[in-house]
């Protein structure tokens, strides 16, 4: 994107924060998949776990055994940024800055986060920040150094409501035009009229759609192994994340049809209900 490039910064470098408001809707999963997806295409990516006190991104990426220093060691001046960054050996160019597990959100300030992001910008094309749930200081910290924001929601009343609140707070913090990812969509339920559709959600939130990720057991299975589903060529969620990665890079990729292939879809077509 057109971030004004200061001296030493990569012209294309971008800091993206992944937010949601409501907990457990898929921020960490999204962050990991974006990181792996971008890195597997040769990009230099730093993933920052801003969920201080509830460190997760390390286990989702399968890097939990390699942590020496964490983000608070960097901001507190106990080590250099380079020392705290864990290199993912599977992907050239993918690095993780882990959260502290034993401290709380006040261990880092928004100013420190800004500085940290500025430093990461000089070396990485993409800096992706995994935001904690909530709207308190952890959220403030996570968004402080970001150029743009991604909002993750699920198709449920509570999650969409919280997403709406987050969008308001992001805009108040001058992070304009956040993009939406709808996660865990169950197309069967949408067809039956028992789950809000993408159109419904977009209509209510009035923001741009970055992508739709279906509910998929492969997300859990990959996460169990410390892998990202984006690498799984056969899964639909993997395809969904690959599409999102391309859109993050600015390419126009059509939304995939989550209906096609479903048994009900075919049956409905057969009897002419579609």
């Amino acid at each position: 994107m057109e971030t004004a490039s200061k001296e030493g910064e990569l012209a294309l470098s971008e800091v993206i924060v992944v937010t949601s408001g409501k907990g457990g809707v898929g921020k960490t999963t999204t962050t990991a998949n974006l990181g792996v997806g971008l890195a597997s295409q040769g990009h230099k990516v730093a993933l920052v776990d801003a969920d201080i006190g509830l460190r997760n991104l390390d286990v989702v990426l399968g890097l939990e055994n390699r942590i020496v220093y964490d983000i608070t060691d960097v901001t507190g001046g106990h080590c250099r940024l380079r020392q705290a960054l864990i290199k993912d050996k599977r992907f050239e160019g993918l690095f993780l800055l882990p959260a502290a597990q034993t401290k709380d959100k006040t261990a880092v300030s928004p100013e420190e986060m800004k500085e940290l992001c500025g430093e990461l910008r000089q070396e990485f094309e993409f800096v992706i920040i995994d935001c904690p749930a909530g709207i308190e200081q952890g959220f403030r910290n996570a968004i402080a150094g970001a150029d743009r924001a991604v909002v993750v929601t699920t198709p449920e009343v509570s999650a969409v409501r919280d997403a709406d609140r987050i969008i308001g707070l992001l805009e108040a913090a001058e992070l304009r035009d956040p993009k939406l990812i709808v996660n865990r969509l169950r197309s069967r339920m949408v067809r039956q009229g028992d789950m809000m559709s993408i159109e419904d959600i977009i209509d209510i939130l009035a923001i741009d759609l970055l992508g739709v990720v279906p509910e998929d057991d492969m997300v859990v299975i990959s996460t169990n192994r410390g892998e990202a589903v984006v690498q799984d060529d056969r899964s639909r969620s993997g395809q969904a994340y690959r599409n999102i990665v391309q859109r993050i890079k600015g390419e126009a990729v059509p939304m995939m049809n989550l209906d096609e292939g479903g048994l009900m879809y075919r049956l409905r077509r057969m009897i002419g209900l579609k």
Partner: protein, 95 residues
């Protein structure tokens, strides 16, 4: 049988998603209003401006609130009028 089929293959009108949408719509009316308490204040100021063209109102006693019951949200304004302006009729006539 047709009923069974249409339930089986989904008919949106019967589904719970419409309930979800409606509840969400309502709750967001409140949330969005409460995200910016300035909004009601701004609305008040502009209301006063408009109404003052037509009548003298008690600006101090003016009350504007969002009132909600189960399935509707209403903007309720209580605006004590102190007196009518003489120009009211001609203004109204010109609209």
């Amino acid at each position: 049988m047709l009923d069974f089929l249409s339930r089986m293959f989904g008919r949106e009108a019967n589904g719970s998603k419409n309930i979800a949408k409606e509840r969400l719509r309502l709750v967001l009316v409140h949330d969005r209003a409460s995200v910016s308490p300035q909004l009601l204040q701004t609305l008040k100021v502009e209301l006063i401006q408009v109404i003052s063209h037509y009548m003298d109102i008690d600006e101090e006693a003016l009350e504007v609130t969002l009132d909600s019951n189960e399935n509707q949200v209403a903007l309720v304004a209580s605006i004590p009028v102190k007196g009518m302006k003489r120009t009211t009729r001609s203004l109204a006539g010109s609209i």
